[in-house]
Point group: C2
Chain length 404, copies 2
């Protein structure tokens, strides 16, 4: 998927000009390796911003607060915590989200409405505001703590997920940095998909919204770990204009930026899928030749969401019937006799029927860290890709072993 943008070594949320971050351990979650549970991203300058949020009917008040700040259009900082989702706690949830923003705004000398909030962790437990009041003001903001912030949002993730790219627009060097955390879930935690992106591009806000929505549709909306959408899912982007490029005002002018943002979002999304609970490997399903973009996205997502495909990949079993059925189950338009299926680059289905192939080659292909399943529908021009994790015994043990 790499389109040739320069990846910045140890790139992170502070790579773009004018963005700082900080993090601290307050004790909201038990001290793991990361030992951080509150983090702040801060822009030295005014930003335009955009966000996409969970479609779950149950929404964390932290999300509700952040949506309102996005609408006001003046975000300068994001404060995030792990260890507590601030969800299903009644009216106290919004009061606490707002106070968390207030504490942060005072510490950074910003307006209250300039602070977005994100929470991830246990559901049904109120935010420990005493810890927030004590520790948020102690967070030191700098150019050097991007990785600290990445650690501060982790829950059941096994590693941080961060990257940055740069590219030129005219004479100006533009940078995009991003960080994410995973969507795997474990009791008593309800982890969440969070992603924050910073960029120094100068861009019109409504163009930024469109570009972000498109990027999210190709990346975070195309991953499946356990198929469940959390109450706290949030993707936010801040753009502070410090690259001093000629301001982007049209979709055409935004093309390079859009490609770079896609690359960042897809990287961060794939890292989430790869880090799914009990998972060690990544399934990448691509559907080509679909009648519409919607069909391509939906059917590729259907493949990586299927428990039967997930277990088949885990078993190194090139079970093309399950892939066929998962495509059909998405109820898209297709002509069975035109379908082709490939595992990595080995064709196993032609004209909708199994075709002779070297079975051992396919099993070897399925032993790799990245298993690419490709379906050619051959009835249209749209392509979509989705990423998912295996389904392993370890997932079941991980998610059932905790008995109250």
């Amino acid at each position: 998927m790499s389109s040739g943008f320069k990846h910045i070594k140890k790139g992170n949320i502070c790579s773009a000009k004018g963005f700082l971050s900080g993090s601290i351990y307050s004790g909201i979650k038990s001290p793991g390796l990361e030992k951080k549970d509150i983090g702040i991203i801060y822009s030295e300058h005014n930003c335009v911003s955009a966000g996409t949020f969970t479609q779950n009917s149950i929404v964390s008040p932290s999300v509700t607060w952040t949506k309102s700040t996005i609408d006001k259009g003046n975000i300068r900082a994001i404060v995030a915590n792990s260890g507590c989702a601030n969800t299903s706690v009644g009216e106290q949830g919004f009061i606490d989200a707002k106070e968390m923003a207030l504490i942060t705004s005072k510490a950074l000398d910003l307006d209250l409405d300039s602070v977005a909030v994100a929470s991830t962790g246990i559901i049904g437990v109120e935010l420990p505001m005493a810890l927030m009041r004590k520790y948020i003001p102690q967070i030191e903001i700098s150019k050097n703590d991007g990785n600290g912030f990445a650690r501060s949002i982790l829950t059941t993730d096994k590693r941080t997920k961060e990257m940055a790219v740069s590219f030129d627009i005219g004479e100006s060097k533009v940078t995009i940095g991003g960080v994410s955390k995973g969507s795997g879930m474990i009791h008593p935690n309800m982890a969440t998909m969070l992603a924050f992106i910073t960029t120094d591009i100068d861009i019109n806000e409504s163009i930024l919204k469109n570009v972000l929505t498109n990027a999210v549709n190709k990346s975070f909306n195309q991953i499946s770990v356990d198929g469940d959408q959390s109450t706290n899912d949030t993707v936010l982007i801040l753009a502070n204009g410090q690259a001093k490029n000629k301001k982007i005002n049209t979709e055409e002018e935004a093309e390079t930026f859009a490609s770079a943002l896609n690359e960042v979002c897809i990287f961060l999304a794939k890292e989430i899928a790869r880090d799914g609970e009990g998972n060690t490997r990544l399934i990448e399903a691509t559907v080509n030749g679909a009648k519409s973009q919607k069909d391509a996205n939906k059917s590729s997502r259907s493949i990586v969401s299927s428990n039967l495909v997930k277990t088949a990949v885990y078993g190194r079993d090139p079970n093309w019937g399950r892939i066929m059925m998962a495509v059909g189950a998405s109820e898209i338009e297709l002509e069975e006799s035109k379908i082709e299926i490939f595992v990595n680059d080995i064709q196993i289905v032609a004209e909708g029927k199994t075709t002779p192939y070297n079975n051992q080659s396919v099993v070897i292909a399925m032993n790799q860290d990245l298993i690419r399943l490709t379906v050619n529908l051959n009835i249209g021009k749209s392509s979509g890709t989705a990423w998912g994790s295996e389904l392993t015994e370890e997932y079941v043990v991980f998610n059932s072993a905790y008995t109250t």
Copy 2:
């Protein structure tokens, strides 16, 4: 769910007047305990019929054939095989389905269009027509082989699923018998949900269609084993009028029949969920007080389809956050502060928040064979129930262990 209809002891597909069946072992599948792989249901008299079929975009030609016979409205027999799904085999699939009907029609001295076909088993392999030609004519039809038919359609099911009820309409005794097989899947088999229902009621065909659709929406469409819809799913009902009741011509007249059919379909659907691969217990999720029937059905199905809920039940873990999230993930209308959740009869959530409960009682409740999860939305009058299986390590092993 029992509404007091008389359950006939050892009731089956032959319990209603004028229905016979037969079965045989032809060798299409390996000889298990059931040792049957082709079965026939036969009506001595003309029938009205109705059917519901898979929504998968990939459809077995056996289903395509049967849809056309339903449209012609003259079904007298159903021939079904296990061991081969007759799916994804190109044009040969329809030729073979039609020949299977033809062989059966000749053996029973019926019109070709009077024979419906159903297939379940391996995908991508052609029907072994030599076996069909040899063994179908040998099948002996009688009143006594209902259980033989039930065995002939099994694939990875651990037991047969059959029942019959009777009730009075005026002076007439009406009987409904039914049989089903499960939807769990294992390589190289792709099992299917099949259900066949016979009744001697005298009923208008369009009323029968409506009553069946409603019953299927409350039963077979509300179960989840592994979330994947097969290419061969079929529910068929035949009604031959031999109860000699005053013919049912309106929805109101059909009310008692509809209740009885619901009971039969729900019984058969629950048996499928209970018999899911690697599963020993049944999850029953009910959502009450929804704004619409659609919302109630969708959200209850979302609960039993959630991998996180399935693993939590397996772990005897009353993880209300996962139930809350699964309800929300169905994107229905709700007011969080009005939500109540019960495990069996113990309330664990009130006003959208966790409420003090005796944890040990809940764990004990979750140790039972039937785990009832009830969600009261308290914003409307619609209720829906869905059934599902646990997600266990055994499921993963079962579905991944076969390495080609």
